[in-house]
């Protein structure tokens, strides 16, 4: 029941917003104070977390290689799986960040008749993972129409493409469907796959429920609970927030504040959660290092500074004592001059 507490927390957040805005004046708290605080926590926390990570030294060259490393001329190197230079690392990182390439290695062991044991790539996680992330990206870009005046072409174009199916009025967004489907899959996977279920913690379920809550309140607001959701008043508030002259011109429905409060929770929670993989993917040493440990010397940054001390210089330092003690030396003492 590790999902019960996160679920209750998200329901409580919705209720706090729904009930809170009924108190006169609290619209300013939920509409202005909380968003600013959440954004400050998000940006500040994000940078602090990345700097905290950057202060950890990487003592060893630890790229994960999963292909043929650089070798003799006639052995073909796998440039993406065992990169040896910066451009190959950049290519590897690009595919990782934009296409989640390493999720193709999400192998599943199955026993067939025979008995035959196979480890096949199970791409469902990759499919729904990438579906979720790109849907979320498109949704964030779409929302920029509420923060930018006049609306830039890139934003309205994204929206046109997203509502291309022209289903219903207001038109259905494809990403609304895909993000909910993907979230339900990612949640269902944690419930039904025994290995993942065993590993899942409350802080795995909480972001899922939180984002599902954001999506649900957003969809309800656009398609089902439209009364009192004055889009122009919302845009005035949003543009006001980013120009530091926030105004709440009309009564905006409580469902909007629930949506906003969940988004603010997500922003504030982001830097202290596993969602920081957004910044962390750039900083994973197993991905962003080149497999060139035999070409370039990697010096552990925390090594103490120890000067090399050769035997020759050691003997120079202690020759007299060595001769006196009868220890053989490679170079005899210089002949004494006064004799």
């Amino acid at each position: 029941m590790k999902y019960a507490f996160p679920l209750a927390a998200v329901i409580a957040l919705v209720l706090i917003a729904l009930v809170g805005v009924q108190i006169p004046g609290m619209q300013y708290f939920f509409g202005i104070v909380i968003p600013y605080a959440a954004m400050a926590l998000f940006l500040g926390g994000f940078c602090l977390r990345v700097i905290y990570w950057a202060r950890s030294p990487v003592p060893f060259k630890i790229p994960t290689t999963c292909g043929q490393g650089f070798s003799l001329d006639w052995i073909k190197q796998d440039k993406l799986e065992a990169p040896t230079n910066t451009s190959q690392v950049v290519a590897r990182m690009f595919l990782e960040i934009f296409l989640f390439r390493s999720l193709w290695r999400n192998t599943k062991s199955t026993v067939y008749d025979g008995p035959k044991l196979t480890y096949e790539s199970s791409k469902w996680l990759w499919l729904f993972g990438i579906m979720f992330h790109y849907s979320f990206l498109v949704i964030v870009i779409r929302h920029m129409r509420l923060f930018m005046d006049p609306v830039p072409f890139a934003v309205s174009f994204t929206e046109t493409i997203d509502s291309l199916l022209q289903i219903g009025a207001p038109t259905m967004y494809m990403t609304d469907v895909t993000i909910v489907l993907a979230l339900l899959f990612l949640f269902g996977r944690r419930l039904t796959n025994p290995h993942v279920r065993y590993l899942s913690l409350a802080n795995d379920y909480f972001p899922l429920f939180l984002i599902l809550g954001v999506a649900t309140t957003g969809i309800l607001m656009r398609f089902f609970l439209r009364t009192d959701v004055d889009i122009n008043a919302i845009k005035q508030l949003a543009v006001g927030l980013v120009t530091f002259h926030p105004t709440i011109s009309a009564d905006i429905g409580a469902i909007f504040y629930a949506h906003l409060f969940l988004v603010c929770t997500l922003l504030a929670y982001f830097p202290m959660s596993k969602l920081m993989h957004m910044g962390g993917v750039f900083l994973s040493p197993t991905r962003n290092m080149a497999n060139d440990s035999r070409m370039k010397r990697h010096v552990n940054p925390w090594n103490p500074s120890i000067k090399p001390h050769s035997y020759a210089s050691y003997e120079d330092e202690f020759r007299e004592d060595m001769v006196e003690q009868g220890i053989p030396v490679e170079k005899e003492l210089p002949p004494k001059t006064d004799e």
């Binding site: 207001p170 005035q236 006001g240």
Partner: protein, 123 residues
């Protein structure tokens, strides 16, 4: 801090990227659109709040009934009969697309596809 020559520029790019709306608006919040209401008509087919929230659903419903089901019957509001028509009913009072429809739609970047089929009035 290690690799600060890469990480600090990365963080600066991230912060600038997240705060794009701030740079884009130049601190100018702009004014909310003011629509020109019809002078002579006093009442719409539905109350104002309901029209504001769901005019697009009503228009969609009219389109489906008239064009797909062939039901061209009128609707009765306060003893007055109205045709289920964008051009003949709505635009009878709200004569200007530019002064009425477009004001809010442009502000909120809503692009209804009414005008894919209908001819917009010449203004």
């Amino acid at each position: 801090m290690y690799d600060s020559s890469k990480i600090i520029p990365g963080l600066i790019i991230f912060v600038l990227f997240v705060t794009i709306p701030i740079w884009y608006n130049h601190g100018d919040a702009g004014a909310a659109p003011e629509i020109k209401l019809p002078q002579d008509a006093k009442a719409c087919v539905r109350p104002t709040a309901e029209m504001r929230a769901s005019h697009m659903q009503l228009l969609n419903q009219w389109r489906d009934e008239v064009l797909r089901d062939g039901d061209r019957g009128t609707i009765e509001v306060d003893g007055k009969h109205y045709k289920k028509s964008l051009m003949l009913t709505c635009m009878e009072c709200h004569t200007s697309k530019k002064q009425f429809c477009d004001k809010c739609h442009d502000y909120a970047s809503v692009k209804p596809y009414c005008w894919d089929c209908h001819l917009a009035p010449v203004e």
